[in-house]
């Protein structure tokens, strides 16, 4: 059973990338569409809250992607020596 798609394509794209990296999505209510959790163990695991209708979907997606990239538990490609 899949999750609902975010209505903003930029945010949906970033959430899919996060899921491919092992992050899990949990649905929420009210202004929060949901939140994503990294592969870490609570209480150290990372969490990013995602609004249903942010004022700037592009910037919201950018910040979500940046938090996923900063996560110490997520394995990304090495980009620095």
């Amino acid at each position: 059973m899949g999750r609902s798609r975010h209505q903003k394509k930029e945010i949906e794209k970033v959430v899919r990338i996060a899921e491919r990296l092992g992050w899990t999505f949990e649905s929420r209510t009210n202004h929060l569409w949901g939140c994503i959790y990294c592969t870490g163990v609570p209480p150290d695991r990372c969490r990013v809250n995602i609004f249903s209708t942010p004022s700037s979907p592009e910037n919201h997606a950018k910040y979500i992607a940046r938090e996923v990239a900063k996560c110490p538990h997520t394995k990304l490609k090495e980009n620095k020596p």
Partner: protein
């Protein structure tokens, strides 16, 4: 109508539970529709893309926004390039890490690069962006606005840190503030004091120790 532009920055908070569902919803309702709230290793970060007339207005409206959303929460700093390594400095000024290294060593540029803010036992060094940005501005490699923004954020962070320390140990902070205000601002002594040191005119008995 004042010119407004988008300012991007991140606030670091303490006293907010990363699992608190009410916090993001309340931030949104209080005007934080431009916020992205996340947590990493138990610390809550709130990133903003805020439209405002100035960076100072943007930051303080954001601080007000998040602290109203959770009265127990406190903004402890603006997480904006505080301490950087050479590669990160390079990214901010559009130069390679190797070029930044040459500025640091004095092989390129006007010399006098600021000393690192800290140095680890493994030799890694980090620089404070505020003083580093000033050097790049004076060397003609950074524009004035970027330099002023770094200086503003440093000043705001100093005040935020003082606020945290003042709440944790008000007695100590009060004593330090008192001593700072009573510190002499000039090395010159008034002439009246010199005359008083003339022992020949003093009325005390003449058996004081001769030093």
């Amino acid at each position: 109508m004042t010119n407004q532009k988008i300012y991007e920055f991140t606030l670091v908070m303490s006293g907010v539970d990363p699992m608190d569902e009410n916090f993001p919803n309340t931030v949104y309702e209080l005007g934080g529709t431009d916020a992205t709230i996340s947590s990493r290793s138990g610390v809550v970060y709130v990133s903003f893309s805020r439209k405002s007339a100035s960076l100072m207005d943007a930051i303080f409206s954001a601080i007000h926004n998040v602290e109203m959303a959770n009265p127990k929460g406190t903004v402890v700093r603006v997480d904006d390039a505080n301490l950087l390594n050479q590669a990160q400095i390079g990214e901010l000024v559009g130069k390679t890490r190797q070029m930044v290294n040459q500025y640091i060593s004095g092989k390129k540029g006007p010399g006098g690069f600021p000393a690192p803010a800290c140095e680890f036992s493994n030799g890694k060094r980090l620089w404070d962006w505020s003083s580093t940005s000033l050097w790049f501005f004076q060397a003609g490699l950074l524009n004035l606005e970027q330099c002023k923004d770094a200086e503003l954020i440093r000043a705001i962070n100093n005040q935020l840190e003082s606020r945290v320390l003042g709440a944790q140990n008000p007695k100590m902070v009060g004593e330090i503030t008192k001593r700072m205000m009573s510190r002499p601002t000039t090395s010159k002594f008034p002439k009246r004091t010199i005359r008083q040191r003339n022992f020949k005119t003093a009325t005390r008995p003449d058996h004081h120790p001769v030093g």
